[in-house]
Every structure is written in structure tokens, then in C-alpha cells.
């Protein structure tokens, strides 16, 4: 903490997301942006709408600094006038002193007012800038295809939208105005000092390299220690995480003592490196303060010498003593800021990368609104997740309304891919898919997706009550409808055993709901939506066979008169299918009913023997 004294105590406020604990923010290990200039330009481009406000901020900053630079001068003059009178053995000229002091006071007032105005407006700029950028990213995400979400880790996208943008806003809020202020202060103070006394100016400047060198020296060493601290902290956190995650097992095997013993070892290690890091970074302040005092003495000594030899006035010496402090502050700040600017640009860069992502094709201008019966046709469909690796070469399927289609095949055969294509999560590389004769590309995506109801492999529920989650399938659902849907999905019983029943809140840590139970809720949600075509992707994979049967009886009701696609791993589903599509390497190699295919004795038979007989 090199300049605790100087920095406004607004620090990173409590509102910052919980980043890794450890070093103070400016001690964070700096990252290098890839294209500093380009990204900086772009960031400035995004600030353009706030041009007027930033202009006002800059003007306010300049004015506030000018006033703060000139006020010591007037205060110095006031002292001078006193000293003058004394040395000439005259009574002090109070009206004159009053005028001088009033002028100084006005300057100080104006300085404060402009500085307040500046950071007040800056708060506006920084927050609306980040809000707008955040919304822009969110809107962008709506337009990018699923490939983006499938190929990037969620944690990564999350940290771009939340943490990185936060870093940017923080920097704009605190440092944009600081940069302006520091730069102007340096130049201004230097100019005034030079006009007052070049020799004293040089005296002030002597300590500058000393400060910068020392800042670098300590920062370098403490960075190392902070890295070490981060590492031990990581190890300790890892141990805590592991023990907490395995809490039950630790208890079952009465391992609490041993866990604590290991914990203490790591804890001790963290303490060892921790206090050293803390101590070293704490060196900064006393050291700069000593250097400052050296500067102070130098100015005093040289000033006194000059006053004796050249008759330099007392007021000038006093002004210099204040300038000396004003001068050393921004230098420390600027040294700090280079790191912060770099990591800000790097953060902005990561956000820009999201904004530059390729977008989905636009919806057609004159969309056809489908009147769905449920005939689905794949003709000459060609598709690959990357152009050089075509997965589906030439797929042709014709499904009549009301049919139940089971899709089977070994892992990686392209079963889930079919769903991705059907719902237009991914675009075809060739051929077309039609629903009741309408090419899905001629519909709006939302109309297309409303046709389907789906239950996916991973049970996604949002944080909210169970009732709200079931109601996700239909806007303005009544409680009665919700309970009905839950009953059809056999979820009613377990929901009622939960502490709050239908009002039980599901969140990330909902540990009283098992995977299977979550699955039942998603099924109830799909039932709620009452779609024309159903897609069940391994929908019942984590439900036991008996519950599955219960669900299926409900599902059968639902499937009546609806086309349904079931990606199945269980025999019971396959048996009832009107049509089984056997996929291998992206192509349909066999079609038919269960009996027909078994008789054929081909790939299906082999798959069936290996996979479906226990």
C-alpha cells in the first residue's frame, strides 16, 4: 500500500465481486494485453457517447487542479505579508491579509467544487458505460449460435461479463480522472515551481528517481511474496474445498482430526509467507515517507540557504514545501497506474472478443408461420461441427405426424446433433429440414422452437421455486395446472415431502433434490408447454426404472397425436417406437420397428445385444 495516505479511501468498495483474496488490488499480478493500442482505441471509441461528459470532467479536473496549484501560492503570499511587516517592524496589514486569505479560501472552495463535480459525473459515466456494454454483450449473446456456448467454458464467459467489465468500470471510475488529475498536477506544479525558483525545483526533483526506484524495488519483491501467498492460499483453499466437499465421508470415517492436522500445516505455511508479504508491502509507506521528509529537509535547507544568500521570501519556501508533497503524490500514482491500465485493457480485450463473435443468420424477412400437424422431413442433410469434419453426410428421414421416433446408436453417432439441427441450434451445411412442408429456415426461430417441447440430458432449472420452474413451460400458468403437470410427471409426491413443498427454492446448492428428481421437474415443465412435437433426449437417464414407467405412462398420454423424438438408451422406450432410426457415424444405417430390426440381425441387433441386455 504505497500511498494509503494519498488515495481517497474509496478503495475497491465492498461491492467488488469476491476475487481471490490476498494482495491489495494494485498488487495484482499484471497481465499484458495482446493489442494494447488497438484495444485502447476501441475502448475510447466506446466512451465516445460520453464525450461531452468526459469533456466536462476534463475541464473540471483542470480547473480544480489549477485552483489547488495556485492556492498554496496565495497562502504563501499571506505568510509573506506577515513576515514582511514584521521584518520592517510595521503592524500587520490585516485588510490586505484578509483579502489574500479570502482569495485563497475561494480558490480552495472552487477546487473542492470542481473536484466533486468531476468525480460525480465520472460515477455516472463509468456506471452507464458498463451497464450499456454489459447489455450489449448480453444482446450479442442472443445473436450468437450455440457453438459459442458449447465451445467456451461458462466460467470464462461469466468472468468476462461480470469481473472483466467490473474491472473496466472500476478503472474508468477511479483512474480515468486520476490520470487526468495526476498529469495536469505534474505539469502545473512543475511550471509554477520553475517560475518561483528553478534551484528549489531541482531540489524537489532530486528525490523523484529515488521514489520511483524504491517503489519498483519493493513492488518487485512483494509481488514475489504475494505470488507465494496466493499459492499457499490456493493450497489451503483446495484442502478446505476438498474436505467440505467430502464432509460426509470425512465424518463417516471419523477423519476430522486428521483433516484438521493437515489443515494446520497448510495454515501455518500461509501464515509464514503471509506476514512476510504483508510486512514488505507495508514497508512502502514508511520508506516513501522518509524520502518525502528528506525532500522536505532538502527544500528547507536549500530554501534557507537561498533566503540568506538571494533573499528568497519565506512565502516561497512555504509554497515549495507544499508543492514538494503535491509533486511526489502523482508520481507514485502514475507508477501504480501503468499496471492497472494494462490489466484494464486486457480485461476490455476479453470483452471485445465476445462482441466480435460470429452471429447466427438473421430470421427471414417474411417468415412463414407454421400451422403444425407434425410431419417432419430431413432431406439430404449435411452437417459438421467444423467444416473439415463432416459428421452427417447425407441424411434422409420422413416422419409422419403422430409417430414416435426412437433414435439409437453408439456414443458420438450424432443423436444429439439431430436435435441441434431440428431446433436450428446449428445451421446445416447442406440439404434442408421441413416441418409440414415448410423449410425451417423460412420460419422465425422463435416460432420454430415453440413447436417443440424438450427434456434434455442435463436438467437445467433456474433459481426460483419449484412451481416457478414448472411454470417456465407456459406463461401465466395457474397453480392447478402446475400441480397437474407435476402429477403427470410423478413429481407431486416428492415435491410434497420437501420442506416448502412447491415453494421450495431450487438453487445451485439444492442438496435435497436429487438428479432424478430434477429430471422429473423438467419433464413436468415440458408437459406444461404442451408442444406439437416432443424431444426427449435421454430424458429419463437418471430416473430409476419404476419411476420411468410412471413418467412414461404420463408421457404416453402426452405423446398421443404428437410427433415425438426420443433419444433412448432404454429398451422400454425403443420397443414402443413406431420407427427406430439407427445412427452410426452420422448416417442412418437402419430404420424400422424393433421386431423388424431384430430380425434383420444387422447393426441394431449387435448394438442391442451389447447395450440393452443387462
Amino acid at each position: 500500500m504505497s500511498n494509503n495516505m494519498n488515495r481517497p479511501p474509496q478503495g475497491p468498495p465492498a461491492g467488488m465481486p469476491r476475487r481471490g483474496p490476498g494482495g491489495p488490488p494494485h498488487m495484482r499480478i499484471a497481465e499484458k494485453p495482446k493489442d494494447f493500442k488497438g484495444s485502447l482505441k476501441r475502448l475510447i471509441g466506446y466512451l465516445k457517447p460520453y464525450g461531452l461528459k468526459i469533456f466536462i470532467v476534463t475541464v473540471a479536473a483542470i480547473l480544480s487542479i489549477l485552483f489547488s496549484i495556485f492556492s498554496p501560492l496565495f497562502l504563501g503570499r499571506a505568510t509573506n505579508s506577515i513576515a514582511d511587516s514584521l521584518s520592517r517592524n510595521l503592524p500587520i496589514d490585516f485588510p490586505h491579509l484578509f483579502r489574500l486569505l479570502a482569495l485563497t479560501g475561494t480558490f480552495y472552495l472552487l477546487n473542492a467544487a470542481f473536484s466533486y463535480l468531476q468525480s460525480y459525473i465520472m460515477a455516472d459515466v463509468a456506471q452507464s458505460f458498463v451497464y450499456n456494454l454489459r447489455c450489449e454483450v448480453d444482446e450479442k449473446l442472443e445473436r450468437v449460435g450455440l457453438w459459442f456456448f458449447d465451445t467456451n467454458s461458462h466460467g470464462d464467459i461469466l468472468s468476462r461479463v461480470i469481473n472483466d467489465l467490473d474491472t473496466v468500470s472500476m478503472s474508468i471510475q477511479m483512474f480515468l480522472s486520476q490520470i487526468i488529475t495526476s498529469a495536469i498536477t505534474l505539469v502545473g506544479v512543475l511550471a509554477i515551481m520553475l517560475t518561483l525558483s528553478p534551484i528549489l525545483t531541482i531540489t524537489v526533483l532530486i528525490t523523484v528517481p529515488l521514489t520511483t526506484y524504491l517503489t519498483r524495488f519493493v513492488a518487485k519483491r512483494s509481488q514475489k511474496l504475494f505470488k507465494g501467498q496466493q499459492k499457499s492460499l490456493g493450497e489451503l483453499n483446495g484442502h478446505i474445498e476438498e474436505m467440505y466437499a467430502g464432509h460426509k465421508i470425512v465424518k463417516l470415517f471419523s477423519h476430522e482430526e486428521k483433516a484438521i492436522e493437515d489443515f494446520c500445516k497448510l495454515n501455518e505455511k500461509l501464515y509464514d509467507v503471509g506476514w512476510k508479504a504483508q510486512f514488505l508491502s507495508g514497508l512502502m509507506m514508511p520508506l516513501t515517507s522518509i524520502i518525502n521528509n528528506i525532500g522536505y529537509v532538502l527544500v528547507a535547507v536549500v530554501g534557507a540557504f537561498l533566503s540568506v544568500t538571494t533573499g528568497l521570501t519565506l512565502g516561497v519556501i512555504q509554497a515549495f514545501l507544499q508543492y514538494q508533497r503535491q509533486f511526489s503524490q502523482p508520481i507514485g500514482q502514475i507508477a501504480n497506474m501503468t499496471n492497472i491500465i494494462q490489466s484494464t485493457i486486457a480485461a476490455a480485450e476479453r470483452v471485445f472478443m465476445v462482441l466480435d463473435e460470429k452471429e447466427e443468420e438473421k430470421d427471414p424477412e417474411f417468415p412463414i408461420e407454421p400451422n403444425v400437424v407434425g410431419n417432419v422431413c430431413f432431406s439430404h442433410v449435411k452437417f459438421g461441427y467444423s467444416p473439415d469434419k463432416i459428421l452427417i453426410k447425407d441424411l434422409n428421414i420422413d416422419i409422419k405426424s403422430g409417430q414416435m421416433v426412437a433414435i439409437v446408436g453408439p456414443t458420438g453417432a450424432g443423436k444429439t446433433t439431430l436435435v441441434n439441427l431440428l431446433m436450428r441450434f446449428y445451421e446445416l451445411d447442406g440439404g434442408k429440414i421441413t416441418i409440414d412442408g415448410v423449410d425451417i429456415r423460412h420460419m422465425r426461430r422463435r416460432d420454430l422452437r415453440r413447436i417443440f417441447g424438450m427434456v434434455l440430458q442435463d436438467t437445467w432449472l433456474f433459481s426460483g421455486t419449484i412451481a416457478q420452474n414448472i411454470a417456465y413451460g407456459k406463461e401465466h400458468a395457474t397453480m392447478e395446472e402446475i400441480v397437474n403437470a407435476a402429477r403427470m410427471a410423478s413429481a407431486d409426491h416428492f415435491i410434497r415431502t420437501l420442506p416448502e413443498g412447491y415453494n421450495t427454492i431450487i438453487d445451485e446448492e439444492a442438496s435435497n433434490i436429487s438428479m432424478g428428481e430434477k429430471q422429473l421437474i423438467t419433464i413436468a415443465r415440458a408437459i406444461m408447454a404442451n408442444p406439437a412435437i416432443l424431444i426427449l433426449d435421454e430424458a429419463t437417464s437418471s430416473v430409476d426404472t419404476r419411476t420411468e414407467m410412471l413418467i412414461q405412462s404420463g408421457m404416453k398420454q402426452l405423446m398421443k397425436g404428437r410427433t415425438s423424438f426420443v433419444i433412448a438408451h432404454r429398451l422400454s422406450t425403443i420397443r414402443d417406437a413406431d420407427l427406430i432410426l439407427v445412427l452410426n457415424d452420422g448416417d442412418i444405417i437402419e430404420t424400422g420397428t424393433h421386431e423388424e430390426l431384430l430380425e434383420k440381425g444387422g447393426f441394431y441387433k449387435k448394438l442391442y445385444d451389447s447395450q440393452f441386455s443387462a
Partner: protein, 575 residues
Amino acid sequence: MFKLFKKYLRPYLGLLFASVILIGIEAISQLILPDIMANIVNEGIMNSNIPYIFQEGAKMLLVSILSGACLVASGLFSAKAGMGFGKDTRRAIFQKVGTFMPSEFDKFGASSLITRTTNDVTQVQNSIIMMLRAMVSGPFMLIGGVISITRYDYTLTGVLLCAVPLLFMLFYFISKNATPIFKSMQKKIDKLSLVFREYLTGIRVIRAFDREKDEQRRFKEASWDLAKSSMKAHRIMSLNMPGMMLLMNFTSIFIVWVGAKSINRLNMQVGDLMAVIQYATQIMGSLMMFGLLFVMIPRASVSASRINEVLEQNPSITNEGNMKIGDIKTGEVLSFENVTFYYPGAESPVLENITFTACRGETVAIVGGTGSGKSTLVNLIPRFYDVTEGSIKINGVDIKKIPQDELRKSLGVVPQKALLFSGTIKDNILFGKEDATDEEVINALKISEAWDFVKNLPGGINSFVSQGGTNYSGGQKQRLSIARALVRKPAIYIFDDSFSALDAKTDANLRRNLREVLKDSTIIIVAQKITSIMDADKIIVLDEGKIAGIGKHDELYNICSTYREIVDSQIRREG
């Protein structure tokens, strides 16, 4: 927060005391500086006495080096005290969490407990280090400064004494208005990341249900909410710096004005005036640090209260009796008598009126649908939860009367989720029995059908296991976690659906091994696959928390419709 300090800062009182004294010395030496400065002006400059200036200048440097040294040393002590406090508090939390039962554990949630053990402690610990200096040096400076100024001229003390309350009013105003906003900002950031994380994980469902517009609205709302709060907070904070500077500067002006009158009365010299200004600046500066406390204390106290919540949470289950289980003889080893269990606050019971017994050498299987209460039943045996009504007895002793350690020593549990810890395979098996020999370890691995793959690993039983066991397949992890239970050689084994990831052949071999080796133990198996429990001595069928039937496979198939449904649903897939 002070509750926390009282308890965990005690060992560091010596260090703190030393640190306080050093900070005091530092403050005093800072106060001497303006005095010397005044001397330089009054004696040196006014009398053109350059050697004197050098002499005083050297004095001044010495003093500032002394004060720097004090600051460094006090920094050392307070770093040690603060970090030591953090260390002790962390350990206390960790120990406390060790006593928690799943119900208390789940009340906080693993990730919240992790944050409390790590980040919250760090927050409080750092605040100690920062607070110490601010808290001590502020008052020191104030008192010392006032005395020094009074020495020059008491009217000037008046100026200062007017300025200080104003400064505090400013702090109070800002912290009172800003702190609640900062607190709510943290919540809003959490909310925003929650909304966004859900958007990311649910993207397919959201697009499939065409709810993207709703999600976007939710995101924008959360985002705007956050932006609004941040704006408010920062606007208030904008007052901080200009306000303080203004106060400080006006103090200087008034000092010059009042001082001029004093000089006119010949009470004071010009150099003194400058010294007083220096004093005032220093006092106000250290009071500004003091003002930091108004910002930091609320923040740290939020963390401290989160820590206290954990430390004050008592485990729901404590050792009540001191009964020993005693030697297991033939007969009822485990018995459930009219057991009914409600999760705290639930409207219907998860388990209702469960009564059954398991004898020595018997295998009891529990089957039933998802949500029928199988896992809950099994969780009652190690006393993760206490029964609401009825009782569970081991060897005739109510488990509530047995110390938890003793109770769990008699159990070998293989949980549903095979969780391994980082370390070696051997470390993981030793988890079951700390002093097991390599031979015992290998033997357990052999019974659990894990030896075949373990012996082919380059490191054998010393092969590395990553956190959570992610470098092994599901089936391998299951076998290792079975071996971990086997090495304990307990009276009762509990397998909670722990064969699910095994292929048919391994499953069969493993069950044959268990039958041979564990013929004198009692085995409770929760299973999905009927084939793995068809030969159990007793099958308990659970349906919506009640026993739907108890018996052997053949009898149950004929009399219990729930059981028949389960069997049929699975046998059909075999046919």
C-alpha cells in the same frame, strides 16, 4: 466483530501492544518534525544561520528515520498479529465445521462455508492490520498535536478543535449513507452473476422454450440495479476527497488568520505559524486515516458476523450417551423400530413407520423408486440425522446413546457418489483404517475387484489420485471407495447404490467376493438393479417413504405389487 477479536486476538496482545507503542512513538516523532521546521525558519532563516540549519536539518532527518523505523517495526508486529489472528480464526472455523452434521452443513452450503473460512477471514484479518495504525495514530496525533499547538498559541487550538468535529461529521455522513449501498451492491453483484450463470447453463432450454427475451429482461434488470447502486455509492463517495481537502485547507487559512493576530500581539513568530500549519495538516491527515475506519469497520463486521454465524452454530447432533456397542453376537445387529423421519420443516415425512431388523451375516436390500426415501434411510444409521420418532438400535443399543466415533467405527459406508481425496490410492484406502498395513490395503483392493487395475498402474498403490478422484473412471472410483470401507472391517456395511457404475461381470465377481468375505457381517444394500439384490436375505421395498413389503425375492414378487412393477420394468429390458 469485537466478540471475534476478544477471543482470537488474545494470543497476540503482546505484539499488538508493542505495535501500539511503536505507532505512538512514530506519531510523536512526526509531531517533533514541525517543531524543528519552525526552528529552522525562526533561528536559521531569520538569523541567516546556515550551520544551524544544517544541524537542525540533520536532526530532522534523524527523527524521520526513527519514525520510519518505528513504522516498519510496528508493521512487522501488526502483520504477525493480524495474520496470526487469521490463522487461528480459520482453524477455529474449520474445526467447527468438522463437528457439523449434514443438516447444519447444508444450512450454509459448501460454497458459502468455503467463502467464510477463506475470504471472510482474510477480510477481517486485513482490516486488523489497517485499523490498528489508523486507530492508534489518529488519537495520538490529535492529542500530541493539540498540546504542541497550544504551546505556541492556545487560540490556534480553538481553530483545530472546531475543524475536527466537522471532519467527523463528514465521515459520519458519508459512511452512514454509503455503507448500506455498498452492502446491497455485493448482493446485487451476486444476483447478476447468478442470473447470468443460469442463462449460460440453460441456454438450450431457454432457446427451446423461447424465453430469451425474459432472460434478457432479467439480466438487464439485475444489471441496471447494480449500476444504479454503484452510481449512488460512488456519488456519495465523490464527496469524500473534496470534502476532506476543503476542511483541511480552510483550517490552514484560519490558522494563518488567527495566527497573524497572535503574531501581531507578539505572542508568536512567523516560523511558528508555519509549524502550526504543518501540525494541523498532519493531524487532519491522520484523522483521515481514522476516517477510513468508518468505511472499513462496517465491511469487516459483515464478514465477522458471517464468521460468528458459523462459530455459533451448534451441531444438531451431539454425543448424549457413552454406551459401547459391545461384541456382536448372532442375532439382531441392526434394528429400526417404528422410525419416522421428517426433514426439518417438511410437511410430509420422508420415512414413515419403518420397522425392520438385520441380523449378523444377513444381507438386507432396500429398493424403491426415486424419492422413495432409500438414501435418507441409510443416512439415519450413521446419525447424519436423528429420527423424528422411533429408534434405531445397533446390537440392542440405541444409536443416540453411542458416541459418534464409536458408532461410525462399526460402520463401513460406501456412499452413492464415490468421492476420493487427493493423495495416493493407499492414502485413500487408509482413510478407512489409518494403521492398515500394505497387505491389508491390497487385500481390500482384491476383494473390491480393484487390484487388477491398481497393480497395473505405474505407481501401484502409491499412484496419484487427483482431487475428487477425477483421474479415475466412475467404475474405478466406486471400487476404490468400496475398498476404503472394506479395510475397516466393521460390523455393518452400507452400500448406497454403490455398484451402479460397474459392468455386469465385475458386479457379479464383486458380489461373490463380498458374500465370501463378509459372511459374518451385516450388509445393507440400496440398489437400483434388481439383479444385484435378488439373492438378498431380506428385501425391503420402499414406496413414498413407507414399507410396501419385506421378504425374499420370490415371495415379494407374488405379494407386493410395487416390487413386481420394479422387477417387471427391469426384467422386460433383459428379455
